[in-house]
């Protein structure tokens, strides 16, 4: 078990290093930062001074090492808009984004999992077909269309909720519901097929043939085994929630990281974009690590297999 | 100088046996020290039961898979398995006819395109209409109708498909052809037709060939010389008449006795082999045949007999020591 954890953590760290390096490469590839920030008509002395100040006159590997050191210390440059530290600018938006993504993830799981399990258990019934039909939404309705439609219905026509902004719990309802419904549809579909696969396995049939009550077969065997593939999709959901937040925050003028990213991209505020990119990268790596560790905990077979394969 | 010369060819596979926590590692000796020469225009028949390493030998000789050790030379130059430009160029002179004609053909191309493919590959300067004309001639020579040119493999019968494979192998008139059980997937009635076709073609084009089969009668019809394989090694080699009428090796004797003779004159007792069928993973020490050999002696368990000449043929058995040398200990 220890070897397994070590293996996973090492891989996570390696991925982080790759992400930071890629960010560096992209930053350098995108052109001369001095010209980009000062403009093409800047006087040469100014460009020179800028280069010195940012260490751009040093060899590339020195820049790379310095960049790495700066990332570790959390020193990621200043926002070009208001001159404040980019990390600070981003950091103060994080709680707002968490305030809608965490409830949305819970909603995904709370609706998606039971719907998928039930659809599998009542396979080919009207109930199954209804769930599968509704869940098509998750793949065909973009989140901005879903958000605007809900907003039109509940905010504009029925005037039950505010259509945008932040401050009260009511403001968070529409963003959370939008992301919640779409994610739930994806999870429901996936859970259903994972569950169907498990139900088709010989050991399930053996268990029920041995006279184990059906309800126990489901809870003891089927759910436990379907949980494993389903966990991977929930790890993947973190990624699509992050991407979804970018759009949904813009739809509802919710001042989180996603909206910040959109304005930063539009203004080409590279320092802020870079911080957000690294932040999301770290989140993804952490989510995948968490899923891997959970995996090892739930499924001991997995653990030994990977540990020996890695050794 | 022989056209093809094979020396001490070996091919071992690393395998994992199932069972146990990790699966035990083992060596599978598919081919384990095969040597022979092929003169220009000669046909060597290779017989042996399933799994004795015939196909592996065929692939090694053509350089389709790398050898663990040993050498193959073709017309004076070494045959390697590095699939580079030189290797590809050599294919022009050496071709293979496969056991399963349907599997060896592309389902999505008309057969004429596949027969013409060697020409397109090796003589790209030949214009398309000339290539088609040549394909037409080849098709006629293997007994395919001109109107079958546009057919797809699944639209042909098994025998016709094998004719397509033969036509493709012969398209550039190669010097050396390996036929790996070319008729064993076909109905008996069609087998004879295809064998006759191969004989005719050989008469006309005069290629050298290695002809593999587990059917002694087929090998006898097709070969100038035969070699009998057992567990990756040649145990007896010589002219077909001698080998099949007066087999010297106990394994060959058992094989020959198993041929159903139409005129049952009761001349031969059928020798039934005892013991487990041969397994190339746990190759017995000494003579590989000793666990099943009716004449096994004590030395057979320890010393591996070497292939020794006896007039026109060669035998690897302690019952037939080399005329001069006597016992030769194998390593």
């Amino acid at each position: 078990m220890f070897a397994y954890i070590l293996n996973r953590v090492a891989r996570a760290v390696l991925t982080l290093i790759i992400i930071v390096s890629l960010a560096f490469v992209i930053l350098r590839m995108s052109g001369d930062p001095a010209i980009m920030i000062l403009g093409p008509e800047a006087p040469p002395q100014a460009v020179e001074a800028f280069r010195k100040a940012w260490g751009l006159d040093q060899p590339i590997w020195v820049q790379y090492a310095k960049y790495f050191g700066a990332v570790i210390q959390g020193d990621l440059g200043n926002s070009m808009r208001d001159g404040r530290a980019a990390l600070e600018v981003v950091w103060e938006r994080v709680p707002l984004t968490l305030a809608i993504t965490v409830p949305a993830l819970l909603l995904n799981i709370l609706i998606g999992l039971p719907a998928g399990v039930l659809a599998a258990l009542f396979r080919n019934t009207a109930y199954d077909r209804l769930i599968m039909m509704v869940s098509v939404i998750g793949f065909t309705v973009p989140s901005f269309v879903m958000g605007l439609t809900l907003s039109l219905l509940l905010a504009v026509w029925l005037r039950l909720l505010p259509s945008g902004g932040s401050g009260t719990v009511a403001h968070a309802v529409l963003p959370v519901v939008t992301m919640g419904i779409i994610g739930a549809a994806v999870i429901a579909r996936f859970t259903r097929s994972a569950m169907l696969e498990v139900l088709g396995q010989p050991y399930i049939r053996t268990a029920s043939a041995k006279g184990v009550p059906w309800s126990q077969v489901i809870t003891r065997h089927a759910l436990a085994n379907a949980a494993i593939p389903t966990m991977t999709i929930i790890g993947f959901m973190v990624g699509s929630l992050v991407a979804g937040a970018v759009v949904v925050e813009s739809v509802f003028s919710w001042p989180g990281v996603g909206r910040l990213l959109v304005t930063a991209v539009a203004n080409r505020d590279l320092a802020v974009v870079q911080v957000i990119l690294l932040l999301i990268g770290f989140t993804m790596v952490a989510a995948n690590l968490a899923v891997d560790l959970l995996y090892g905990w739930v499924d001991p077979r997995m653990r030994t297999k990977t540990a020996t394969a890695g050794a | 100088m022989p056209l093809v010369s094979v020396r001490d060819l070996k091919r071992h596979y690393d395998i994992r046996l199932t069972g146990g926590l990790f699966g035990r590692r083992a060596k599978l000796k598919a081919v384990d020290g095969v040597s022979f020469d092929l003169k220009m225009g000669e046909t060597l028949g290779l017989v042996g039961e399933s799994g004795c390493g015939k196909s592996t030998t065929a692939k090694l000789v053509l350089g389709l898979i790398p050898a663990t050790s040993g050498t193959v030379s073709f017309d004076g130059s070494a045959v390697t398995a590095a699939h580079d430009a030189q290797w590809r160029h050599m294919r022009r002179r050496m071709q293979m006819i496969y056991q399963d004609p349907l599997g060896a053909l592309d389902r999505r191309l008309p057969v004429s395109a596949q027969i013409g493919e060697p020409i397109a590959v090796h003589e790209p300067h030949v214009p398309a209409d000339e290539r088609e004309a040549r394909v037409g001639e080849i098709m006629t020579s293997v007994g395919l109708r001109a109107d079958q040119a546009a057919s797809y493999p699944h639209e042909l019968s098994g025998g016709q498909r094998q004719r397509v494979v033969i036509a493709r192998a012969l398209a550039l008139q190669p010097d050396f052809i390996v036929c790996d059980e070319p008729v064993s997937a076909l109905d008996v009635s069609i087998q004879a037709q295809v064998l006759n076709l191969l004989e005719d073609l050989k008469e006309r084009n005069g290629f050298t060939s290695l002809f593999i089969s587990h059917d002694l009668k087929v090998v006898r019809q097709m070969s100038d010389r035969v070699a009998v394989m057992y567990l990756g090694m040649i145990v007896e080699e010589g002219p077909p008449e001698d080998v099949f009428h007066a087999p010297m090796h106990p394994y060959t004797q058992a094989l020959v006795s198993a041929i159903p003779t139409p005129s049952r004159r009761g001349k031969r007792e059928r020798i039934v082999l005892e013991g487990d069928p041969p397994n190339p993973v746990n190759k017995p020490s000494g003579c590989p045949f000793h666990p099943r050999c009716p004449s096994a002696m004590s030395e057979c368990r320890e010393f591996q007999p070497m292939l020794a000449s006896h007039g026109s043929r060669k035998v690897a058995c302690h019952l037939r020591p080399a005329p001069s040398a006597g016992l030769i200990a194998a390593e």
């Binding site: 269309v145 039109l152 991407a243 991209v265 | 293979m96 060896a104 493919e117």
Partner: protein
């Protein structure tokens, strides 16, 4: 049941097997209604892509301040502007037709790029094996680990935006799935006799992969391309909605929704029309993709 009817059943039906009712049933089993509708919608889209400027009743950029915010037919508007007009008096129908054209063309080109990239890398991995294959697999994992929308936003921030860059960028969406499939299929084709036989003739890798393996695995690749297409439309419209995709004066479906959002109170039709088109299009292509998958290759999950 569908094509062979038992004699007793024939008797029960009291007539020919070829009664019109039966023929219809056979037809719909083969071509389910949903698939037929989806195919008709796609056909309509193809016509729009080809002939948008001729079908459109107005120039999509023509401003007419006297006709501002005219409601569509279903909200009591007139035939002059069946889908209404926007804040500047531009005809929504005309804009919609042009936007469909842009969105579909971008999604189509991007999917072609993704397929080319994916198939090439998948084949390279299958041909070279070893270190090269490991590298490709690592790239695939890396691409799959990060949400593509975020990568796209970062690239747009760093390199700026142009229609060409944007289309190429969208072309990086989904390549990793196609690469994974192409690699798997090529590996199993290599195990099959036909590829080995062609190699043994002396054919070059180009010939083996281009003329033999590719045509043999094309149907599966086409299915996965079809399933990639609607996802590219969603991505493109999402970015365009945010104002970071297709730039004015050009307009894609996402742009129209983004623009219409500001008039959601006074003129909801501006955003509703393109939204409906997006949903119907992704739905239709997904249905056809699933149908093709079941038809060609039941093993592709």
């Amino acid at each position: 049941m569908s094509t062979e009817t038992l004699p007793s059943e024939q008797a029960d039906a009291g007539g020919s097997v070829f009664s019109s009712k039966n023929v219809l049933r056979v037809f719909f089993e083969k071509w389910p209604l949903a698939v037929l509708l989806a195919l008709s919608w796609i056909a309509l889209l193809v016509i729009i892509v080809a002939f948008a400027p001729f079908i459109a009743p107005y120039d999509y950029l023509a401003i007419s301040l006297t006709d501002r915010l005219a409601p569509p037919l279903f909200l009591g508007g007139g035939w002059a502007h069946p889908l209404g007009t926007d804040e500047l008096g531009r005809d929504v129908l005309s804009r919609l037709l042009m936007s469909v054209r842009i969105s579909i063309v971008i999604a189509f080109l991007s999917t072609l790029i993704a397929a080319t990239l994916g198939v090439s890398l998948g084949f390279i991995a299958a041909y070279f094996r070893g270190k090269v294959e490991q590298l490709v697999l690592m790239l695939i994992d890396a691409q799959a680990a990060m949400p593509f929308m975020i990568i796209a936003l970062a690239v747009l921030a760093f390199f700026g935006n142009s229609l060409m860059l944007f289309t190429i960028l969208m072309g990086f969406y989904g390549w990793e799935r196609i690469a994974r499939i192409a690699r798997g299929l090529a590996l199993s084709a290599n195990e099959q006799g036909y590829a080995t036989a062609v190699r043994d003739i002396g054919a070059s890798p180009w010939r083996i992969y281009g003329r033999h393996i590719l045509p043999n695995i094309a149907s599966t690749l086409i299915v996965s391309m079809t399933l990639n297409f609607p996802e590219v439309i969603l991505l493109e419209s999402g970015l365009s909605f945010l104002g970071l995709g297709v730039q004015p004066p050009l307009s894609s479906l996402g742009n129209m929704v983004g623009y219409g959002r500001d008039y959601i109170q006074s003129a909801p039709w501006i955003m509703l029309a393109p939204s409906v088109v997006i949903v119907l299009t992704t739905l239709a292509i997904s249905i056809v993709g699933d149908w093709l998958r079941d038809l060609f290759d039941p093993t592709l999950s």
